[in-house]
């Protein structure tokens, strides 16, 4: 039997289908208003690519913010468990995972078996999340990719508040309208520094231990990863498709369940 993992996020829905212990297909589509129908659509698209019948014999584990609402999934698992499984498959030496999603940051500490030994989430404020970065990109009037690129040329990152998304927005506006205005690359680097300082505060509370890996859509941002590595003082492990880690973990758990 083939297995699939579904990660229903607030912005995107991710699917990974595993066949014979290898990833047969995967995909990311924007989350719709109804988690169930988006999940069905995502699963159908991904299954078609892998030439698998999505209505057929498929064991599914769902996770993420909307994971519980997927009635056709055989099991629901928490995002922390799925992240741990997914990242351990990709990087067995990872002992700390920093997951940066659209609306939350989760730090997962892993034991030598790749299981969760502790975790800490930041879910009270949008500061430091993917949505925060999107807002900042809108404010800076440039796409996220360009932001990432120009941040690498920053000379003196601007000071941006890390405690509140709304305050951060006002600070960025004030930098833009300063006379002379703060260079754009310094503002962007400041935004990344503020996000990283939030991540670091959480990671320190759990305990930073090598190797450190990242996941989530925000981990696609090269500028941010460079700032994070500078702050950590060492290289971090970055999956090719960081946004798929939880869906991969869910699919792995699905596989374990049918093997039992």
């Amino acid at each position: 039997m083939n297995v699939a993992g579904l990660d229903i996020g607030s912005l995107t829905t991710k699917v990974v289908v595993i066949e014979d212990d290898t990833i047969a297909s995967s995909g990311v589509i924007p989350s719709g208003e109804e988690a169930e129908s988006t999940a069905r659509e995502a699963l159908a698209q991904v299954s078609m690519r892998a030439h698998i019948d999505s209505n057929g014999d498929l064991y599914i584990v769902s996770t993420g913010i909307g994971g519980k609402s997927i009635s056709f999934a055989q099991q629901q698992k928490s995002i922390t468990t799925c992240l741990a499984r997914g990242i351990s498959r990709l990087f067995p030496t990872a002992r700390l995972l920093i997951d940066m999603g659209a609306e939350s940051i989760t730090i997962v500490k892993l034991n030598e078996r790749g299981r969760v030994s502790d975790w800490l989430g930041h879910d009270k404020c949008a500061a430091g999340t993917g949505i925060f970065l999107q807002q900042m990109a809108k404010l800076m009037q440039m796409p996220l990719e360009e932001m990432a690129k120009i941040s690498l040329n920053a000379k003196s990152p601007a000071e941006i508040s890390s405690t509140c998304a709304v305050f951060a927005e006002s600070e960025v506006i004030s930098h833009v309208h300063r006379d002379p205005p703060t260079p754009r690359e310094d503002i962007v680097a400041g935004i990344y520094s503020s996000l990283v300082s939030r991540v670091m505060a959480l990671a320190k509370r759990v305990g930073i231990e090598k190797d450190v890996a990242v996941s989530g859509g925000v981990a696609l941002n090269i500028g941010l990863l460079t700032t994070l590595e500078k702050e950590l003082g060492f290289k971090i492990l970055v999956p090719e498709q960081p946004q798929l880690v939880a869906a991969l973990g869910a699919a792995i758990i699905a596989g374990e369940n049918i093997d039992r």
């Binding site: 698992k77 928490s78 995002i79 922390t80 468990t81 299981r115 969760v116 030994s117 502790d118 975790w119 989430g121 879910d123 509370r205």
Partner: protein, 420 residues
């Protein structure tokens, strides 16, 4: 401020009567639980009728030695417990919290204290004849009394209880208690009944022994005591120190739990996770916590700050000294004493003795003192490979965290325990 508040005492009484009525004849309403609610009804009825009966109300903060109040036949009013019971039984206390804010109390001040000040300000609690308070356990407690005195225009007495616990400090505290007796005699016109105090101390000693015996039974696998049952033990300690009904309740509970252990019965149908509970869960989520405990087979087996009494016995021949010594044996003092290796080792030892799988720290965001200890306890437990979940919450204010948020985090934690 105008006296506009709903009467908190009446709300608590109504809720207790309703719970008893609804539980009548069900397995959930055991004889000990029935007794517990009858005790609450008695306590709060005396308070409600005190003025009518010409009784003298002595309001007091947490850990204030109520034995002295009982020995003088005064009517005690445990202020913080009354506030959190309002939240527990009525599901919300926005009116008294808002009234506390109107007095200028910041949202960072712990809600039982903000709430109690608000409750007095709007007349939701009866005006006490005296306000008694101490520096046990925190700066909020130490300051609360002065505010209540001002709001209720009543005299008050503050006990300065030393931080450390050598004989020198105990002697000092005995001196403070002697002054308290003089103060109460002067204000109430009643004399201290020293024989009665000795009897109360003897009963309090028995009460502590009974809780120790109950704890022994809770070590059994499966554990027989309900997940949130410890809140009943806590209320009995707070409201009925050395009272005959407390002994009767604890003896009945002990017999019930012994019977369950003999039969191999547990508090939950399938015990999967044995949990150590640290600090106070949100009162408005107690029913939910009981439900999720059954759902996941997760049950609190020990609460070092509530049910795990420090070593020592009380001596009725030296009642005031015993009352002073008791203040250092109170379970909560594990958190509010010098946080040395001894204190931390006791928690680790406790976790091992009770075969704990994981710990849950209910981090009351308004309690700076308890939140400052989170990392110390977490690190100590992690050293023996016991994970600890920290849940940000507020003991009475439902706007800080929701049931959904609690469920999500608890489910993740139970998954973590299962994976191990």
């Amino acid at each position: 401020m105008k006296a506009t508040g709903k009467n908190s005492i009446e709300s608590i009484l109504r809720a207790c009567r309703l719970i008893m009525k609804m539980g009548q004849g069900t397995a959930d309403m055991s004889p000990s639980r029935t007794m517990y609610y009858k005790m609450l009804i008695k306590y709060f009825s005396s308070l409600l009728q005190a003025k009518e009966n010409g009784d003298f109300i002595a309001a007091h903060t947490v850990f204030f030695p109520a034995e002295v109040i009982y020995a003088m036949d005064l009517v005690p009013m445990h202020t913080e417990t009354t506030t959190w019971m309002t939240a527990l039984f009525t599901g919300e206390c926005s009116d008294i919290l808002a009234a506390g804010s109107s007095l200028g109390m910041a949202s960072e001040i712990c809600t039982p204290h903000r709430g109690l000040a608000g409750a007095f300000a709007i007349g939701a609690l009866p005006r006490p004849d005296v306000m008694l308070w101490s520096n046990m356990v925190c700066d909020n407690t130490a300051k609360s009394g002065e505010l209540v005195m001002e709001l209720c225009d009543c005299p008050g007495f503050f006990i300065d209880r030393p931080f450390k616990d050598s004989q020198y400090e105990v002697n000092y505290l005995v001196g403070e208690l002697q002054d308290l007796v003089k103060f109460l005699e002067d204000k109430s016109g009643r004399k201290m009944n020293w024989d009665k105090l000795s009897v109360i101390v003897a009963r309090m000693d028995k009460q502590i022994e009974l809780i120790r015996q109950i704890n022994e039974l809770r070590k059994s696998v499966p554990t027989p005591f309900r997940a949130t049952g410890f809140l009943e033990l806590l209320s009995v300690d707070y409201l009925f120190p050395g009272q005959p009904e407390a002994i009767e309740y604890l003896e009945t509970l002990l017999a019930e739990l012994s019977e369950m252990v003999k039969k191999g019965e547990g508090a939950v149908s399938r015990e999967r996770f044995r949990v150590m509970s640290l600090f106070i869960p949100p009162m408005y989520l107690i029913a939910f916590l009981e439900k999720i405990s059954q759902e996941y087979g997760a049950v609190s087996v020990i609460e070092p700050f509530f049910t795990f009494w420090g070593e020592g016995r009380l001596d009725p021949a030296h009642p005031l000294e015993s009352v002073a010594k008791k203040s250092y044996m109170i379970p909560e003092m594990r958190m509010y004493r010098p946080m040395d290796d001894l204190a931390l080792d006791a928690i680790v030892d406790c976790a091992q003795q009770y075969k704990v799988d994981g710990a849950i720290f209910y981090a009351d965001v308004g309690c700076r003192h308890s939140c400052a200890t989170i990392k110390l306890f977490k690190d100590s437990l992690n050293r023996i490979d016991i994970p600890m979940l920290t849940l940000d919450c507020d003991v009475v204010d439902p706007t800080i965290t929701s049931e959904e948020e609690f469920r999500e985090k608890l489910e993740r934690f139970f998954e973590l325990l299962e994976e191990r």
